[in-house]
């Protein structure tokens, strides 16, 4: 390979993980990490959790500190937006005109918050949460006694609601769907999460649309489709994210709901890879169904995997999707794709935890989900069972004395 080197667009979890892995795997040529933020790569999950908590000023949780970037000889091009990929010349062009040549390119451009398109909604009246700067802005609004409206009862919205309640704000969550956590989480868990929020004093308005938002002298007014009016001090929208595919589309790569890659995480151009929130990949464990994930572990593992394949490993990406969320003292976790299941079996745990197995038509374990103190071990064991593509008896799974580890050993 010539010495143009490896270029990564996007300095988030995926890009950082890829850059580190390239070095760990022995790549000695140039690595360039291009990021449009001004901070070195940092973790996003704390932005809706610890970064909003009471106490000392929140600092970014760096994934790769500037010093580490230097030690690993990774060229970190900050506050730089890649605007064009010239695939014939193997060149990435930045907004300031600078050109960076690549041998292999990784698109790790992530996703951006979906915008509310409503009369009166704009970025000054409605906040969003994706970057550390967003978190700082939100944090400054969360003074005790203030009224916060959260639009969208997905993970980010609910985590913000929990953090805001803990800071003494009054919180109302508006959700157009008829339940919270519509995607990827079974009803039993969504109900437990909702109950905990209600116990903490969060108001929910489910199944309601929003008509318009007006702001005047620091106060915001939200008019609901049912005519009701809400007044508040701050509004945050957590209504999903859109994959950043514009660069890929503009240079003619295949794009759908995410940059389309094969099971090696390569795009339709074999010298360009994509990983993390921005890409949709076929998952071997789920019959090759194309999925796009917005999850921390997928970003980390996808970045590392793409890096190894860029160096010639040629391995399929088969990491099982895994997601966690922290709200109040509760942690919930989901392993696999519950949406790929047709039968849910509840596991009886000794503590107060809730735990579900999700089986497909053939009683193969497709996913498991849980909330409570003791679930992490079980989720990990369930992951191993999913990897084994274990076919399981729902009656055995429901038995109170079931020991998952023993079951796993029996199957090996």
């Amino acid at each position: 390979m010539s010495t143009r080197g490896m270029v990564i667009i996007g300095g988030g979890e995926t890009g950082a993980s890829a850059a580190r892995t390239l070095r760990e795997e022995g790549w000695q040529g140039p690595i360039t990490l291009i990021g449009q933020e001004n901070l070195a790569p940092y973790e996003r999950p704390p932005l809706s959790k610890g970064a909003l908590a009471l106490g000392s000023e929140a600092a970014p949780a760096f994934i790769l500190k500037e010093q580490t970037l230097e030690e690993l000889s990774i060229t970190w091009v900050r506050e730089a937006r890649a605007v064009k990929i010239d695939r014939d010349r193997h060149i990435v062009q930045l907004a300031d005109g600078q050109e960076i040549a690549y041998d292999k390119l990784l698109l790790a451009t992530g996703a951006s918050p979906r915008k509310l398109t409503l009369e009166g909604s704009n970025t000054t009246s409605v906040m969003e949460l994706r970057t550390f700067a967003d978190a700082e802005r939100l944090r400054s609004k969360l003074e005790a006694g203030r009224q916060l409206v959260v639009i969208g009862a997905g993970f980010i919205g609910l985590e913000v609601a929990a953090s805001a309640r803990e800071r003494g704000c009054q919180v109302t969550v508006l959700e157009v769907g008829h339940r919270i956590l519509m995607r990827g989480v079974p009803l039993g868990i969504a109900q437990a999460v909702e109950a905990r929020h209600r116990e903490a004093g969060v108001n929910f308005q489910l199944g309601v649309g929003i008509e318009r938002i007006e702001s005047a002298s620091g106060e915001q007014r939200i008019t609901l489709a049912n005519g009701q009016e809400l007044r508040c001090d701050a509004i945050i929208a957590g209504i999903g994210a859109i994959p950043e595919t514009s660069l890929a589309a503009a240079c003619g790569l295949d794009v759908g709901n995410g940059i389309l890659v094969n099971d090696r995480l390569a795009t339709s151009d074999p010298t360009i890879y994509a990983a993390g929130d921005c890409c949709a990949f076929p998952h071997g464990v789920y019959g090759g169904t194309r999925i796009r994930l917005e999850a921390w572990r997928n970003a980390q593992e996808g970045g590392a995997h793409a890096a190894r394949n860029m160096l010639g490993a040629d391995q399929p990406y088969e990491a099982i999707p895994w997601f966690w969320s922290d709200q109040y003292e509760q942690t919930l976790q989901v392993i696999g794709l519950p949406d790929a299941s047709t039968l849910t079996v509840q596991r009886h745990t000794e503590d107060e935890s809730l735990f579900f197995f999700h089986l497909d038509d053939e009683h193969r374990l497709a996913a498991a989900s849980g909330i409570g103190a003791g679930i992490a071990k079980e989720i990990k064991l369930a992951e191993m069972l999913i990897v084994k593509r274990a076919v399981l008896d729902p009656v055995v799974l429901a038995a109170p004395g079931l020991k998952l580890k023993a079951l796993l050993k029996e199957l090996s």
Binding site: R297, W324, A373, G374, A376, K377, K380, L381, K405
Partner: protein
Amino acid sequence: MLLEGWIYVCEADAIDEEDVIRFDSGSRSFAIYRSEDNDYYATDGFCTHEKVHLAEGLVMGDIIECPKHNGRFNYKTGQAKKTPACEHLTTYPVQVTDDGKVYIQID
């Protein structure tokens, strides 16, 4: 007879084979392990990456996997084995008495 400085943790059979429990003493938290071949070990209770109780993680062979980000440690030596866990864990001596009681020495 146990020497001074040993603290009672639990009955030996209170920990399953190839498993871990949490043990708090004063303001400190420990993780107490029983290996597949019935030896007992103790480490700091918290993952060195972020403050998460390791006892909520999974023991496989010599490894404890952190429940939060899947960092791994060898719980027998305390060695960090997989990122994002990079700093090692402190280990502590464990004794199981003839009458089946687990003690650790933490100072």
